[in-house]
């Protein structure tokens, strides 16, 4: 069956090709079009884009998006950080100065969970981490936010979660973009070379 069909379909293909064969001009136009598209792609090559979605608001989880964003900006990448849910606290002027680390459920803490659950342990864990960060010469969260804004990183606050958390648009650092939704975030992700969910 299949061997019978093959010559027939090849014939059809041949006749189709002759009837619909594009003219030399049409081919030339198509080549010009493709060359133009290629030039655009090549000229676009130097500009990398990154979109980070920051969803966590604990002290330790505020660092990775900010460090990666400010470093990418040093590479001249176009960087967007979309802050949603607890990630909003990172760019919330008051809350960002008060981010906490959780002692409970953190297997790297030198105390068992039962002890970690005692009131005040989160504060202690956070202080310990702050001290180590200072000794290590690692910048503070505030420094990294200032640096990110200064170097052109776009820090975005998700509008839906601003309302969900009962925050006000004025609560965020100057330079933070508000009024952004999931559709805009997706658009940035689609255009990006690097997309991260933190």
């Amino acid at each position: 069956m299949s061997t019978d069909n093959q010559p027939a379909s090849a014939d059809e293909g041949d006749s189709g090709l002759t009837a619909d064969a594009p003219s030399l001009e049409e081919l030339q136009d198509r080549v010009d079009e493709l060359e133009h598209a290629l030039t655009e792609l090549e000229s676009d090559d130097g500009q990398k884009k990154m979109t980070i979605v920051a969803t966590k608001g604990s002290f330790d989880m505020a660092y990775p998006p900010l460090i990666l964003a400010s470093t990418a900006a040093a590479f001249d990448w176009e960087v967007v950080v979309f802050h949603t849910f607890w990630g909003l606290d990172i760019i919330h002027e008051e809350k960002s100065k008060n981010l906490k680390m959780s002692a409970v459920g953190n297997p790297n803490m030198p105390v068992p969970n039962a002890v970690a659950a005692i009131p005040g342990m989160d504060r202690m864990a956070t202080r310990m981490m702050e001290k180590r960060i200072e000794e290590n010469g690692t910048p503070t969260i505030e420094d990294l936010i200032d640096l990110s804004i200064e170097t052109g990183v776009e820090l975005q606050a998700c509008q839906m979660t601003i309302e969900l958390m009962d925050y006000d648009e004025a609560d965020f650092y100057d330079g933070v973009t508000t009024g952004i939704g999931a559709a805009t975030a997706l658009q940035h992700m689609a255009e990006s070379d690097v997309q991260l969910l933190i």
Partner: protein
């Protein structure tokens, strides 16, 4: 410190850790003219691979040399355009 690369400016990032050596290097390079050489003095051992990666991935700069001197990691970056 080696002056064979004839640095135009020296950036001191001793005691600072990731991402500051890169971020400060980028800012210092932005303030220089084409042909200038920036000397970066760091104590962060990660700066050896970071500065190299940054120079490879960034247009308009060339990494001339990287040396270790005790606890110090010294980088020479040229602004090419």
């Amino acid at each position: 410190m080696s002056s064979q690369h004839n640095p135009t400016e020296t950036l001191d990032v001793k005691g600072q850790s990731c991402p500051m050596p890169i971020v400060k290097t980028k800012q210092a390079i932005d303030g220089l003219e084409a042909g200038d050489v920036l000397e970066v003095v760091a104590t962060d051992s990660g700066s050896m691979s970071d500065i190299q990666g940054w120079a490879d991935g960034t247009g308009g700069v060339e990494l001339l040399d990287q040396t270790e001197d005790g606890d110090l990691y010294i980088h020479y970056v040229k602004k090419t355009d």
